[in-house]
Subunit: 394 residues, 4 copies
């Protein structure tokens, strides 16, 4: 990954203040939790909150403090093994599916670990604003922000699969409305520039600014709502194989799926688990927790299609976006000229470029300052525990 | 299950005092735990400590308080679903492998639940010493004692699979020695009486006193020690298929087993995880954490065999026993005349009578007063997380 | 395994004639097959007919011809690998579940292999009647007879899972009737002798004649019929968990079982696939293709139990038996004094002595001369593709 | 799928002659087989030769004879169930993994079925050259040609996993050489037209001729050879995780892969199974039987990349191609304006457009007349039993 030079930007704010602001949001997210809630990993693709808190700290310790802070003393020799996620270059790591079985270090010790790392970073920044350090700091904070959204969706998964549906925060607001007048925006055919430009931070997968030719297309000005999706469901969408991709139809049948994740039919009405508890489904709010198969089937049923990630990026300046991650019809692949950075930070994005679909936009759970029109999020087609929705194109 | 009359016995002690004494040991066992340790279920056959604490309380609530304590108010309507183990007669229950994913109720609420149930039992016993109540009380307390040993072995499993090997209790003493002079005890052929007699408590599977004819046999006066087992290992015991049952050989190869559970070879020496932490293996202490396949292979290698459960019971009055659950060469099947009780308590033992082997004796983790020569413990042949060992016969 | 001396017996018949008579029955069984039918292995526990034909020949080649026939030239060097079943002492072998994927050698070549081996045995027997040879010959023929019954049941499995239900032999007669007057036979308590005695052939697991004490018991004079089992089914037997062993209830739910194997409900009537094709279930014929779980549940529903293998053996002289393998309530374990023979033939029986149940009797598919009252057949509790039925006791 | 009008083209040849020519090649492919070889399905993604022969006939019967040939009598009512592959619109079908267990109809009957269908088509074509019929005929023949290549690779899989490595055809020639001078071809940036044009047959996924902008690029004039791949292997390519996609690294480790499919190291030399038998690997022939993960790792190691399918199509007119299917760096997705045909034939391509990668070119096993520069073949990234290779780009 090409580490860009962000030092000017970071120096324009106070790096220490910026660092604490981002780091503290992780702690804010965990405030409503009981100690017990930090532990389980009900399915391999989610991680315990305790693990997120430790792993994001391990990132700063491993990539910044150990190489750059003279005399830094690692908090605990085992944490490298316990809290490495997938960086093969940084040694052995815990088998992913076992994260929920590791009770020690406990939650208090993980907070101590965070404080120890924060203190180290503070000390380093007091004495050094070397570009290499600041660039890695920015990367670490962006990484932390990615995990903040994952923490929210992972917490939701754990609590939402508890038969008692515990409330995370009665005031949680993660379900925006679509109140405007629905319609389609027309864009002309032409050669467009795609990819990140400018001095702000971006990930390596956004680089490689390049031209893409697009035929003329139309894209919806709003996201699909619960009400529209209910029409699809009521029209038998989940039982008409003609609407589904072959793998989607298998997924649906193996898992006996009949509705988005977290939806429960009770006494004839649809409810869904939200971070504010179990609520009746509101037809005017934005549909979420569907996977690519469901997005694709809905579009097929509606006689439309999903936009490509390039169409989305070109249209984005004319759209209101950010209410929800939007499945596109683009596979997650390298841009022309993509190059991985040498070493561990190069494992960040490139090695996942197969069998995943691109999502564009952002959600109500995305950390402030962590969204931009060129951002390429990606998930496997069957996943739906993120705040994922869709926008139609034609 | 025939509910025997224990009321005289219980009345000879103070039932309330007896009840609290047994119940409090469960709490004692959990004293060294952090909140985090109560939660995980790393494999389906173990249960979280929190679940054990709640489930044993649920047993008293369901079988005693709800039917017998007038005006009893259930602590929480969902707990029946969450903390039923396998009693189909008492309604739906949580899928077993999900016990570790349920963070709510939290640990504090589970202790409140225990206190609520204890208070109910106390209130009931102040006013009623009806035989039906006292008999169910005794059953509930025996059930609690069974779970106490499981709690210890389940806690050991969870902590022992943490890469940092946390200490449960530095003073824990679960590994007795065999210091006597090894030898064999000879018993004459003849007709022997097997099964429980007398007025004390026993489970339904011990009833049906009956005659069994035994040829003359010899049985070791001591359990097999770590040192003896090390000789088997060093002689290539784990790589000679002639010593193993066919299913044992498959188990060994699929799991790449080379030593008892919790054993780790480090720098040429064998260590094992104990509740007091990682310790070097002491050749003079009793071997434990082996399964039936390993017990059988060791006996084959030694040119001996395992005793049957009948031989064991007959010889027991001449043996020092109780250091370790002992695999026998008997399958867990009904005694002649075995009958299940009607209803839920009848699900206690009879429905497990296939594909399990009988263990006799007791271990250093068995609750006081919970062992007797007629006790029939049983586990699947591949399990080894209990404190299981063996005694040879010929 | 103690190889007993059968030479006198074999010499009293013509060994060559006896050999060909047994061997030819295997070929008779395959007469109705098309080449295609010899190949598939739809589930790992069944074997293709081609494999049975080759494996039984391999047994004679490996244990008799190679060691005893001077100058014997092995038919093909790869056949040891391809057609060894489970004898670890005789080298590597094909992974069991792959037997159906090996198209070469073809059927014709396997018949050539048989002829080659037969010719070798004939040549050997013309010149040698050494006891060691005759004893291994007898073992090889008994082994062949075991595979003959397996061939029939495996062929039935393959054809019976073809959606077109092909007929094996329109004249096949494998479903005997129970026409007598049902009743129970009473036997006195006492010490009985169990196990094989006399000079005839038996397997090592029947040896160790020993005394067993039995309380008085009653045993049915007839096997359970389809009609009786239909009553159980109509009474909701497959949906009442109180009747089932815990593992049986899991098995039933995971496999959505509602009837014996090969039964199909069509337009309100029960049909079953037989080797003579799809036939309506006859209530007066003997129930078959049930597993131990089903046998146990039926007995529970009837208020009876299964006999132990000892009760069965003692009662057998008063019973008409042989219509069907009968599940007993005995686990397959060693008799007192059981010893394995050294080397490969010692792998025959002993290593399977865990997690299997004993069946006594014989079926309409058992080869002539291959049944006796002391014979201990054994299968896992969930299997039901053999001709298995049950007899009640109380 | 838009059914294009091919009638002119078909009428320019003799449709009956053309039909028999294509159909007969399927029979030619099976000539070297023994009956046994038609049966097994060693892994779910391959199909038995017998199934291919029947399924391609079923296609003509279902989509042409039943709707268009008056008085046509279906060969057998069960064949619709047995030989439907994945067309949900045409009713229930056999579970895919069971194709190898169905012995009846036998091979002879399947050839009778082919003859019956061929006769029907002949009869129809004698009287009708309606465009609808001719277009479906063309589709059916293209479909047959696709299955012809699958038959060859599936036969290779079955024979190549037989421990005796049987020879299919000693004269088989499926491993072309690369004898030219290696180098790179340069192409200018620009807007290019992609997709099928003209009157010839193409599949629906090639339609939607559209413009694509490509930056300038270079593409190799030759395919990667065995010798080049051996260099990668000898340089430790299979053990350096930095070269691999994350899913590729998991695949490699789970399957313990160290070489392309069919490669075996024997006494220090690399051999590979070919349809002509086991042969030493020739460094000058084209590499084959690698999957997308391996292609991607090799390109990474070589400091190059795979071309996109658009680059390939644009460059193809300057390249010699057809020796081997070539993995591209493009995911299999819809072209702009893609539309599925209504009904069953619309299930042909569109429903597979997720989680597969595009391959371009053709192989030595591709049927004559079945290759064109716009052809989009597609397989999952982990598959390597097709004749798959790669070409580098930069």
């Amino acid at each position: 990954m090409e580490i860009k030079n962000y030092e000017q930007e970071l120096l324009s704010v106070d790096p220490i203040e910026y660092f604490y602001k981002v780091r503290n949001r992780s702690i804010e997210i965990c405030k409503p939790l009981q100690v017990e809630d930090y532990i389980p990993q009900p399915v391999p693709f989610i991680s315990p909150a305790k693990w997120h808190l430790a792993h994001t700290s391990w990132f700063f310790e491993t990539f910044i403090l150990k190489p750059y802070l003279q005399g830094y003393c690692a908090f605990h020799e085992d944490f490298g093994f316990l809290f490495n996620s997938y960086y093969n270059n940084v040694g052995k790591r815990l088998f992913r599916a076992n994260r929920g079985n590791i009770t020690r270090p406990g939650v208090v010790e993980v907070y101590d670990y965070r404080a120890h790392v924060d203190q180290g970073i503070r000390q380093l920044l007091l004495h050094s604003t070397a570009p290499a350090v600041l660039n890695l700091l920015e990367l670490g904070l962006q990484h932390e922000q990615q995990h903040q959204e994952l923490m929210l969706t992972d917490i939701k998964y754990t609590l939402g699969h508890n038969p008692t549906f515990p409330v995370y925060d009665p005031a949680a607001q993660f379900h925006p409305r679509e109140d405007g007048k629905p319609g389609y925006l027309s864009l002309e055919e032409g050669l467009y520039e795609i990819g990140h430009q400018g001095n702000g931070f971006c990930f390596d997968n956004e680089l490689g600014k390049h031209k893409v030719y697009l035929p003329s297309f139309q894209i919806a000005n709003q996201l699909v709502t619960n009400g529209e999706y209910l029409s699809f469901m009521e029209a038998g969408g989940y039982s008409d194989f003609n609407l589904w991709l072959d793998e989607g139809w298998s997924w649906l049948n193996e898992n006996k799926v009949e509705a988005p994740l977290y939806w429960h039919k009770m006494e004839g009405k649809w409810f869904h688990y939200t971070l504010a508890g179990l609520k009746e489904v509101d037809p005017n709010t934005v549909l979420t927790h569907i996977n690519y198969y469901e997005a694709s089937a809905f579009a097929q049923w509606a006689g439309k299609r999903l936009p490509t990630e390039f169409e989305w990026e070109v249209a984005s300046k004319h759209l209101e976006w950010g209410k929800r991650w939007e499945w596109t019809n683009s596979a997650y692949l390298a841009y022309p000229g993509f190059e991985k950075a040498p070493g561990a930070v190069g494992e960040y994005n490139g090695k996942f470029m197969v069998n995943q679909m691109v999502l564009r936009g952002a959600s109500s759970a995305t950390s402030e300052g962590h969204s931009r029109a060129t951002y390429r999020n990606f998930f496997h087609a069957h996943h739906r525990w993120q705040f994922t929705g869709l926008r139609l194109a034609q």
